[in-house]
């Protein structure tokens, strides 16, 4: 289980948890909380993904653009 595969499962797991949390919070009438939870979780996940996209850009730059 390389770190990359772990990251994919992590992001998918966070997505599931947040979806469940969103549903629970919404059904208990706390729509505001539900919205902010989803937003913050999305930003947190996006930071992970941005790190990988940055890595991808650096790799492409290293292999193709700087020889």
């Amino acid at each position: 289980m390389t770190p990359e595969i772990r990251a994919i499962f992590q992001v998918a797991g966070i997505g599931f948890l947040v979806a469940i949390l969103h549903t629970i919070l919404k059904q208990s009438g706390k729509e505001d909380f539900a919205y902010w939870t989803s937003l913050i979780a999305f930003v947190a996940v996006f930071v992970i993904v941005i790190g990988y996209v940055d890595h991808l850009y650096k790799e492409i730059e290293r292999v193709f653009l700087q020889l």
């Binding site: 990251a7 599931f16 979806a19 790799e59 193709f64």
Partner: protein
């Protein structure tokens, strides 16, 4: 690069995205981007040997180094642009994908301009 591992990553991510899409579409998109980035990182890393071999061939054939450099840059632009455009198209933003591709095409034309000028120069010199 392990081809089985890469295909496994792709299939796993596809299943996760398909399940997530109904529950949380934004996370499905993010998982898709992440899986695509991971796959492309592996592919580009294994591409390094090919590029090095091409470079050695060009050096031993005494080709002008600027030409191969330009071709490699164009390949790099194509990879990045294709990745971004597919992500945009996956998220349902075809118009944005088209603009990203247009940016890539313009970048490629700008990069290829010196080669075109060289070819035209050579032709002009051949003409009497």
């Amino acid at each position: 690069m392990h081809i089985l591992q890469l295909v496994g990553i792709g299939l796993t991510a596809t299943v996760l995205v398909a399940v997530l899409r109904a529950q949380a579409p934004q996370f499905a998109m993010v998982v898709g981007i992440l899986a695509g980035a991971v796959l492309l990182i592996q592919v580009v890393q294994s591409m390094e040997d090919v590029v090095r071999t091409l470079n050695n061939l060009a050096v031993s054939a005494k080709v002008n180094h600027a030409f191969l450099d330009t071709v490699l840059r164009i390949i790099g632009i194509a990879y990045i642009v294709e990745f971004a455009a597919q992500v945009a198209r996956d998220a349902g933003e075809s118009a944005l994908a088209g603009k990203i591709e247009l940016a890539g095409k313009v970048g490629i034309v700008i990069l290829a301009l010196p080669i075109v000028t060289d070819v035209i120069d050579a032709m002009v010199h051949l003409l009497p």
